[in-house]
């Protein structure tokens, strides 16, 4: 299935008085990896948190405009359905501390009270862990607590937890910023694999990372979407002076 999966229309987001996102209009295609880049405080994280409506959890947060997933507005969709459609992985690995590795992977089913047969559950766990290349490392310790894993493994576990629910879009909020280079490399490989099945929107501070893994890159600056283009094109031939300055390291 080709085509647009996510579309925003003149989308703005505020925290109280201050506007953090200004009139963002963007179209994201199915099965592509979009990197969201920009200096600190430019609204990257807010942008992806708006897509699964996590933004509104903050007190005083408001939005304007519309976001459509598969041509349905996220504001008319059932919140629970929306969040199952759109998985999210956070900056710091956050496996559930009271659950084993196994339970963490199927946490979405357990916590939602979705009944699965034991064999189905085993299958979901194995498939999800294999997909994030964690299966071989943890297959003998499935019933240990998820928090005993290393940071990189925990992060892959969190990705497994998200994809076990079969989302269509995966939001990654600087997933490697708390990890060492080896774990980072593993996650990047993983993103490359995952793109076959999912649409991925990844916030990153790391320009090399954006260059390595993304098809298109969106450059945000002070809450505005300055430029959105093929990653290679944006890096070689930035249209905007601010983009140029950022990617050449003049500020950031």
């Amino acid at each position: 299935m080709e085509g647009t999966i996510l579309k925003t229309f003149n989308f703005s987001a505020n925290f109280g008085e201050s506007q953090v996102l200004k009139n963002i209009s963007i179209e994201i295609n199915r099965n592509e990896v979009v990197a969201v880049m920009g200096p600190s405080g430019c609204g990257k994280t807010t942008f992806i948190r708006c897509i699964n409506r996590m933004h509104e959890l903050t007190q005083g947060a408001t939005v304007n405009g519309d976001i459509r997933v598969d041509d349905n507005s996220i504001y008319t969709m059932n919140l629970i359905v929306l969040r199952r459609k759109i998985g999210m992985v956070f900056q710091h690995p956050n496996p559930f501390p009271t659950m084993s590795i196994y339970q963490n992977v199927v946490a979405g089913y357990l916590l939602n009270g979705i009944k699965l047969k034991k064999t189905e559950r085993d299958e979901v766990v194995e498939r999800s862990l294999k997909r994030v290349a964690l299966w071989d490392e943890v297959k003998d310790d499935l019933h240990k607590k998820g928090t005993f894993l290393s940071g990189g493994q925990q992060q892959r576990l969190c990705i497994a937890r998200s994809i076990s629910m079969n989302p269509e879009i995966l939001l990654l909020d600087e997933p490697t910023s708390a990890l060492d280079p080896i774990s980072t490399a593993k996650i990047e490989e993983l993103i490359f694999e995952l793109k076959k099945n999912y649409t991925i929107i990844i916030v990153t501070h790391n320009m090399q990372q954006a260059g390595r893994i993304s098809d298109r890159t969106a450059f945000f600056y002070l809450g505005e979407l300055l430029e959105f283009n093929d990653t290679t094109e944006l890096f070689i031939n930035p249209k905007h002076e601010k983009t140029q300055n950022y990617i050449t390291g003049r500020f950031g």
């Binding site: 199952r84 501390p97 607590k145």
Partner: protein, 281 residues
């Protein structure tokens, strides 16, 4: 130069000696109290002591079975009332920190901690005992539950506040509804702190005497009807200790000993629970 360094080292040592000394001064009376209760109490303890009713003056071999059953029942009912109330209030306070309701709740919780237990007894007497027309176990339990609430609320609130927000977000982002997120992710993650708050609050009210005198009153017989007056360990200690009879004094010591052991036991359980169910983020 050398002398000043020596002088400083001397001051260091002196400081250390002083804090050790003061700690001893503080701990010694506590140990002496425990020693006295153990010595006087242990001689009163035997099997009959746990299974017999108090005997009239002059007869030997009376026990405290009515008070034991009474205390257990009072605390059970008080827990049934105060644990859900306290835990849910604690959840509200940690979830909604800046509302007017949470401000006034926290304020009244803090004030409630400082209200003398006898005042609570009098109020429950006026509101519950008078309206119900007589002393009852349930009114005693209500008085105890009022005393348990502040520490349950506080420990729940403080435990839940320390749980990282990212955990809640992780659950919500999986499409888990808010109430399930709280009940299945946040509460289990804080269970150790909440449980130890509950157990400590039980240990605290186990020895409360004043509010029970006005409410549960006391009963020389075994009673399991919560609408009737009931005996309790602190009440039996109070009644027997102020009596002029040697035999009854002995029972009071024995009951004190039992009470201390119960409190000690509850504290040990708390420590074990804290170690065993420690949640690592």
């Amino acid at each position: 130069m050398v002398t000043t360094i020596k002088y400083r080292e001397f001051k260091n040592k002196l400081f250390k000696v002083i804090i050790i000394l003061l700690t001893t001064v503080c701990t010694l009376p506590l140990l002496l109290v425990l020693y006295k209760i153990f010595r006087e109490g242990i001689s009163a303890i035997n099997w009959d002591f746990f299974v017999n009713l108090p005997k009239p003056v002059g007869e030997t071999g009376g026990g405290i079975v009515n008070a034991l059953i009474g205390s257990v029942l009072l605390i059970l009912v008080a827990s049934v009332i105060s644990i859900p109330l306290g835990v849910f209030t604690g959840i509200y306070l940690s979830e909604y920190r800046n509302t007017k309701l949470s401000y006034f709740t926290l304020l009244s919780v803090d004030v409630l901690t400082g209200v003398p237990s006898i005042v609570i007894g009098i109020i429950i007497y006026l509101w519950v005992v008078k309206t119900m027309g007589g002393f009852s176990a349930i009114s005693g339990s209500i008085a105890l539950s009022v005393m348990m609430l502040p520490s349950i609320i506080k420990s729940t609130e403080e435990t839940l506040k320390l749980i990282p927000n990212t955990l809640k977000e992780a659950s919500l982002s999986l499409g888990v509804p808010y109430y399930r997120t709280i009940l299945k992710v946040i509460l289990p993650a804080g269970i150790t702190g909440i449980l130890s708050g509950i157990i400590l609050s039980i240990a605290r009210v186990a020895g409360e005497t004043a509010p029970l005198l006005f409410t549960a009153f006391g009963n020389p017989f075994i009673n399991t009807n919560i609408l009737k007056p009931i005996s309790s360990l602190p009440a039996i200690i109070f009644n027997y200790a102020i009596s002029p009879y040697e035999d009854w004094h002995k029972l009071a010591w024995g009951a004190s000993f039992v009470l201390i052991i119960i409190v000690l036991f509850l504290n040990i359980i708390t420590k074990i629970a804290q170690r065993k169910w420690k949640v690592q983020f």
